[in-house]
């Protein structure tokens, strides 16, 4: 009997509180509704934008490798094009032109070191995979 009364009381509380809550949801003001709508559209656009990125850019390993390659080219260009070994270079072959070319081909070149750091795990894993390859 007591259990039944408790159950009825609990059910009444649940139903009444739920009804009040849903009524307050339905009575939300237009400003809040509009802001929620904007927030939703921003979230959906963010999701769609993330999916629409080219497949190459969606592969962090590849972009990191690209950054690493660009950094290597940049290093070589600076090393061989630096003031100490620049005696024979003509003005038209300025190392800064190379630098611009390298920078223009990969916008992530500046982050190359960071990205390389991020993907140390991959290179470690790939190295292990290569070393366990059975010899033919």
């Amino acid at each position: 009997m007591n259990e039944e009364i408790l159950q009825t009381g609990q059910q009444a509380l649940e139903e009444r509180s739920r009804a009040l809550f849903h009524e307050s949801v339905n009575n939300l003001d237009m400003r809040t509704r509009s802001r929620l709508n904007q927030a939703r559209q921003a979230a959906v656009a963010a999701a769609a934008g993330a999916r629409r990125r080219p497949w190459l850019l969606r592969m962090p390993v590849l972009t990191s490798a690209g950054g690493f390659a660009a950094a290597a080219v940049l290093g070589v260009a600076l090393w061989f094009g630096g003031p100490l070994s620049h005696h024979a270079a003509a003005p038209a072959e300025s190392p800064f032109e190379d630098l611009e070319l390298v920078a223009a081909t990969d916008e992530g070149a500046g982050d190359a070191i960071d990205m390389l750091q991020d993907d140390v795990d991959f290179y470690d894993w790939a190295d292990k995979a290569a070393s366990t390859e059975p010899t033919a």
């Binding site: 649940e14 809550f21 849903h22 949801v25 979230a43 963010a46 969606r58």
Partner: protein, 205 residues
């Protein structure tokens, strides 16, 4: 461990499967939009009950929407609801923690102290409305106010369990996922919440 002929092949394995076709992506985006449209108002009200401030509630809901879309948009839509509420509850808890730290810090600083009850109050709110409210509406408003203040007084986990189960209609398993605890804990939190609310709201209801 697999062996690869080229580094590109290794990259493909390391970085996961190829993206879904365009039609599938469009349908997923539409489904995400429908899902968020369906829950956004309830999520906002739940955040508002917990945080009191509507702007904070909007920020937390917006943040949860973005995180769900970015991080879990590709997951099956059946998983979205508990995941969304998990992100939302984490956001609410983070904000409450930041507030309490700020409050503690403010007590050490000289100058006028912040009154949380007066925070973000619009002076226009205190101006009397031209139309007198119908007695029934007034009673509803009072009951809602009492319910919200009682919910705020509950421990956070009990409040979460009650709102997710009763207002959002999640089952025990989904609530457990959203709260990051066991199903047994959900039942305990819910039962305690109901018990406390019945004690507090007994006179009104």
């Amino acid at each position: 461990m697999p062996a690869f002929d080229t580094l590109t092949e290794a990259w493909m394995v390391w970085d996961g499967p190829a993206p879904a076709p365009r039609g599938v992506v469009l349908e997923q985006t539409r489904e995400l939009d429908r899902f968020l449209a369906e829950i956004e108002r309830r999520a906002f009200r739940m955040a508002q009950v917990a945080l009191r401030d509507p702007d904070d509630a909007l920020d937390v809901v917006q943040d949860a929407m973005l995180k769900l879309a970015r991080n879990y948009g590709k997951r099956p839509s059946a998983e979205w609801r508990p995941l969304f509420y998990r992100i939302l509850e984490n956001g609410i808890r983070d904000l409450q923690r930041r507030r309490s730290v700020r409050k503690r810090f403010m007590t050490w600083l000289p100058g006028p102290k912040e009154d949380p009850d007066n925070e973000a109050q619009d002076p226009l709110d205190s101006v009397a409305d031209g139309a007198a409210p119908v007695p029934e509406q007034l009673m509803q408003a009072q009951a809602l106010e009492k319910l919200e203040s009682s919910l705020r007084e509950l421990p956070a986990r009990q409040r979460e369990a009650f709102m997710l189960r009763n207002f959002e209609g999640l089952d025990v398993a989904e609530t457990a996922t959203a709260m990051g605890c066991s199903e047994g804990s959900v039942k305990t939190h819910y039962s305690r919440a109901v018990h406390t609310l019945r004690e507090q709201l007994g006179e009104v209801w």
